[in-house]
């Protein structure tokens, strides 16, 4: 009987270890923030091909309920940017200025659908988005107010996958 009890207690150790490992909430191990990834390009001078275009001193500003919210101010020599879409509406507006303090300045209107996405009990919910259309101001010959030639949605499915470029912005060769 005594031997049995001792053996039994010894064999309880694995169970006690498992009990010690219980935790109240799992850690959140995946990205919760969902960004739109943007690449900027320029139409080459000599042909119709495109090249990466580093924006010299970029400002990226969100327009939210008629107020301006700076997101990236004075970002020097970047050609890849991340933007946030509004989780409250199915559209949002961004202003992009390649060189701080100088024209051109362009406005992009993102239209999209939101999908509520459960990630895990540790992370909770987030929104994934499907971009349907982007309207942008564009370059006008003889004016330096706007600089964008065209905007292409290369992958409209915006999730927490950080390896996908969703939008390509082509600046006019001017």
């Amino acid at each position: 009987m005594r031997n049995k009890a001792i053996a039994y207690l010894c064999l309880l150790l694995p169970a006690l270890c498992v009990m010690a490992c219980q935790q109240e909430r799992d850690l959140c191990l995946e990205p919760k923030i969902v960004n739109v990834r943007i690449g900027t390009y320029r139409i080459a001078d000599s042909s119709t091909s495109t090249i990466d275009s580093l924006l010299p001193n970029a400002n990226l500003i969100a327009v939210d309920n008629d107020s301006l919210k700076g997101w990236a101010i004075g970002a020097k020599k970047y050609n890849k940017f991340t933007l946030l879409l509004s989780p409250k509406y199915d559209s949002c507006i961004w202003i992009i200025q390649p060189d701080s303090g100088y024209n051109p300045i362009d406005t992009l209107v993102f239209n999209y659908k939101r999908q509520l996405q459960f990630l895990s009990t540790g992370c909770g919910f987030t929104y994934f988005y499907t971009i349907s259309k982007i309207k942008a101001t564009s370059f006008i010959e003889g004016s330096d107010v706007h600089g964008i030639d065209s905007v292409i949605v290369s992958n409209g499915s915006v999730t927490n996958n950080a390896n996908i470029e969703h939008v390509k912005i082509y600046y006019h060769k001017h």
């Binding site: 009890a5 064999l11 498992v18 009990m19 009990t121 909770g124 987030t126």
Partner: protein, 230 residues
């Protein structure tokens, strides 16, 4: 005593590694001593109240009944309840469930004497749980646009799973057993929890995991009666 330790360690290693059953055990146990008794054993998992006291957001109770008629098989019925409460700033909901598991345990030990009811077992279970989840409220934070809150309607669902179990039971005094099980659990209908799983399902474990390692620690009492003479 050595017999229990060696057999149990090999059993533990085998189940944790998802390996095959210990091949050193005889394929068809030949009981050395036959008993002329039935046994019905009723048990309660005493680890649950301890875990309930340690964790504020979940609780469960588990009971077990097993019946021994002949050979090396113990037919097993397990049942219980569970609740979970999530009260986080970004996610809040509750869930409750009842569950039932049926299956069998096979004894790996030969009986040493007529009153030897100690067992080291492996077994299988089929588990089913009816789960009620309340409406969930969530809050998403956004550095630019501020917080967004919303809710997901409540839902009732049924989860089903299979278990591989291993463990032992030792008769401490006549009719009173103590024993534990370790369990590998595999959710069969994974799609049921896709939208928003309960954080905890009594009898199964974490609702967002498709395979789970778990254990039970039973105190049991056995009723025995003689078989009818034929």
């Amino acid at each position: 005593m050595l017999r229990y330790i060696i057999t149990s360690i090999s059993l533990l290693a085998g189940i944790v590694a998802h390996a095959q059953v210990d091949t050193t055990a005889p394929k068809k146990a030949v009981p050395g001593i036959q008993v002329n008794e039935h046994q019905l054993r009723i048990g309660y998992d005493i680890s649950r109240p301890i875990i309930n006291a340690m964790l504020s957001d979940k609780s469960s109770q588990e009971f077990q009944i097993d019946y021994y008629g002949k050979n090396t098989i113990y037919w097993t019925l397990e049942a219980g309840v569970g609740t979970a409460t999530n009260k986080y700033s970004d996610l809040a909901y509750t869930s409750s469930n009842t569950f039932l598991r049926v299956g069998f345990d096979k004894s790996l030990l030969q009986r040493l004497y007529k009153s030897d009811w100690d067992v080291v077992t492996i077994g299988l279970r089929y588990g089913i749980a009816g789960i009620d989840r309340s409406a969930a409220t969530y809050t998403m934070t956004n550095a630019l646009y501020g917080n967004t809150t919303g809710s997901v309607p409540g839902k009732s669902s049924v989860a089903q799973w299979l278990e591989i179990t291993g463990g032992l039971k030792v008769e401490l005094v006549k009719g009173v057993f103590a024993g534990w099980n370790i369990r590998g659990k595999f959710l069969l209908n994974q799609s049921v929890f896709k939208e928003l799983p309960p954080s905890f399902v009594g009898g199964y474990g974490k609702g967002d995991k498709t395979s789970i390692f778990d254990f039970n620690f039973y105190i049991s009492y056995a009723f025995r009666w003689k078989k009818d003479a034929k």
